[in-house]
Each structure stands twice: as structure tokens, then as C-alpha cells.
């Protein structure tokens, strides 16, 4: 079955390209007021962390940056045992944001926090 899928890859990809439910990066701007943190985070007022959502395809394309284990697990789910879950759509790369905060002692803190915005998604 795996060999058949790989042989028929061009048709397979053509059929499944463009599905809205495919694993992809989605915007979701959020304000710190919504999180209840606006009483001590001065800036920014809002930012867009984004999120990953969607179904990981059976055949994981190279642009999903999926580890080999996820590729194997996808085949196991499809061909061997459906109780083994399919890989999940999760963030792959992140970027930082800068935050300005009031500290407990009245000081003011500027800080860059890593991994605050999702920049791409993967299946794993």
C-alpha cells in the first residue's frame, strides 16, 4: 500500500491540495486585557501569537518539516492500526516579542521573550 501511495503521489497531492482543513497557520490577535494582564503589561496592548490548526495529511509533504517518526506514525495509523493517532498540527518555528512591564517594586522592565509567535506549522 505504501508503495502504491508513493507511486501515485502526483495524483494524490492534486486531489488533496487546497483543502481548507489542512494543517496551516491561522491568525488570532489577542489583547493582554483579554488575558487579564493589562494591569501590569504596558506594551504591547495586543499581539498575534497565531496558532496551528488542521488535519495532517496522510502523506506528509516535505514542507511540513515533519520528523521521520511522524511520517511512519501516519502510515501506521492508516495501514496498520487506526487507534494509533495521526500526527498533530503544531507550531514548528517561533519568533519573539518585546514586552514592557511594571515590576512589583515599581521598576519598569523591557524584555524580549522568545517563542511567543508561531511562524510555521509542522505535523508531529
Amino acid at each position: 500500500d505504501t508503495g502504491t501511495l508513493a507511486h501515485d503521489l502526483p495524483n494524490y497531492l492534486r486531489e488533496h491540495r487546497g483543502e481548507k482543513s489542512d494543517c496551516s497557520l491561522r491568525p488570532f490577535p489577542v489583547s493582554f486585557a483579554q488575558l487579564g494582564w493589562d494591569h501590569w503589561i504596558i506594551a504591547p496592548h495586543r499581539y498575534n501569537p497565531r496558532y496551528c490548526k488542521g488535519t495532517c495529511p496522510h502523506l506528509l509533504r516535505y514542507d511540513y518539516h515533519a520528523p521521520n517518526h511522524a511520517v511512519v506514525q501516519s502510515f501506521v495509523h492508516q495501514l496498520v492500526d487506526a487507534s494509533v493517532p495521526r500526527p498533530s498540527c503544531v507550531p514548528y518555528r517561533y519568533s519573539p516579542i518585546s514586552v514592557l512591564m511594571i515590576e512589583r517594586n515599581g521598576g519598569i522592565l523591557y524584555k524580549e521573550y522568545e517563542n511567543m509567535i508561531a511562524e510555521s506549522c509542522t505535523c508531529r
Binding site: H39, I42, R104, I108
Partner: protein, 218 residues
């Protein structure tokens, strides 16, 4: 005091590392008043932030600050009457205790206004470093000036002695009122200079270290 603090409408679940780190830094409940952080220090940091990041908080790579953490420490004074005629002399202390272990000092500067207009005259100001046990004070010369009139004095050598850091910094803010004498209005006191600590947070993240106390300074 690291007891859990309420944060908005968060459910009662085991605290995630990000939220735990934010709780350690947060002043407290939504009703907590942030009195001291206002005026010139806040404006300075807001300008710094706008230069460093865009509206959504993304760091501007073209204007890197060269570090991932900058802490503004406000001065405390012993009160009393700082005015003596035309002269303004105010002793200030900056408490440096309780800095997180993961934050390493790169540079420290004191920011102040060397000249400001008040009423019908002008205040000309400078800073003196107070060294414990030494009568002569060190007059600090600005190492940089901004277009908004701020002057910066590098005090890094006075904060780091050998392999350790000092627990506090003592300065004297000295101003003289130039221009026409007279007037019966109460003299306007200049805002206290503030200390900027340029730090490198080696954790570069929100998750706090496991059971690590804040650094105690000798």
C-alpha cells in the same frame, strides 16, 4: 513572596511555566496600584520600547538594543528638604537586591536631565557618586546625550567589583537654579534620575529556573 496570585479569569489548574514566571513578576491583583512608575521614567521606557519594537511587539531588528532585558530602577530618597537657596542637593539610593540569577549585567547607566526649564529660570543639574567611607565624591560626566535632552552616565564600573555585584548604588543629585532670582513660588524639584540595567537573560524565556532563589548580593 511567591505565593500564587490571581491573573484575570484563569481557571484553577496546575500553573504552567509561562504563567508561573509571569506571576513572579506581576505586581499583584488587577486592583494593584502602580503609583511609582509614572512621569519621566515611564515616558523614557515607552520611547525606548517604541524604538525597539513595533505595535505588535515584534522586535525591530534594524534597531537592536544589543540585549534582551533592560530594567529601570527607580531611586529612593531619605526625604528632608533638598533645597538650600538656589541649590538642590538630594541623596539617592538605588536598590539592586533581588536580581534574578539568570540576568547578567552588561552595562549600567544613570539617566537624568542636565538642564530643564522651571518657572522663570533654569535648573542645571549633575550627578555625584557617593562611595562609602570616602569624603570626596566622584563627579559623573555624561557619556551620551539623546535628542530629547536626556544625559546618560555609565556607572557600570561602580556596580561590579571583581566577580561580585554591589547591593546598591548611592548618588547625589545636584542642581543649581540659574537665571533671575526672586519669586515666592515654591521651587519645583526635578525628577529623580533613574538607573538602567542592561542585562542578558540567559534563559531567554518565561519558564523560571527550578527552585532557584533570587541572587543575594554581598
Amino acid at each position: 513572596n511567591q505565593s500564587p496570585l490571581p491573573l484575570g479569569s484563569l481557571p484553577a489548574v496546575p500553573t504552567l511555566p509561562l504563567l508561573q514566571a509571569l506571576q513572579m513578576r506581576a505586581p499583584g491583583s488587577p486592583g494593584w496600584q502602580v503609583g511609582p512608575a509614572s512621569g519621566q521614567p515611564l515616558r523614557y521606557m515607552l520611547n525606548l520600547y517604541r524604538r525597539a519594537a513595533d505595535r505588535e511587539g515584534r522586535p525591530r531588528r534594524s534597531r537592536s538594543l544589543g540585549t534582551n532585558t533592560i530594567r529601570l530602577v527607580q531611586a529612593s530618597s531619605n526625604g528632608g528638604q533638598p533645597w538650600a537657596g538656589r541649590w538642590y542637593l538630594q541623596a539617592l539610593t538605588y536598590n539592586l537586591e533581588g536580581q534574578p540569577e539568570a540576568e547578567h549585567l552588561l552595562r549600567a547607566t544613570v539617566v537624568y536631565l542636565p538642564s530643564l526649564s522651571v518657572a522663570h529660570s533654569r535648573l542645571l543639574c549633575t550627578l555625584e557618586l557617593v562611595v562609602a567611607g570616602e569624603a570626596p565624591r566622584v563627579l559623573l560626566s555624561p557619556t551620551a546625550r539623546s535628542r530629547h535632552g536626556w544625559a546618560e552616565v555609565d556607572v557600570t564600573p561602580y556596580l561590579v567589583l571583581g566577580n561580585s555585584s554591589v547591593g546598591s548604588l548611592a548618588l547625589r543629585h545636584v542642581c543649581v537654579r540659574a537665571g533671575r532670582a526672586g519669586g515666592h513660588d515654591a521651587p519645583v524639584a526635578p525628577g529623580h534620575p533613574f538607573l538602567l540595567l542592561y542585562l542578558n537573560d540567559t534563559q531567554a524565556g518565561l519558564a523560571p529556573p527550578a527552585a532557584e532563589p533570587h541572587r543575594r548580593r554581598r
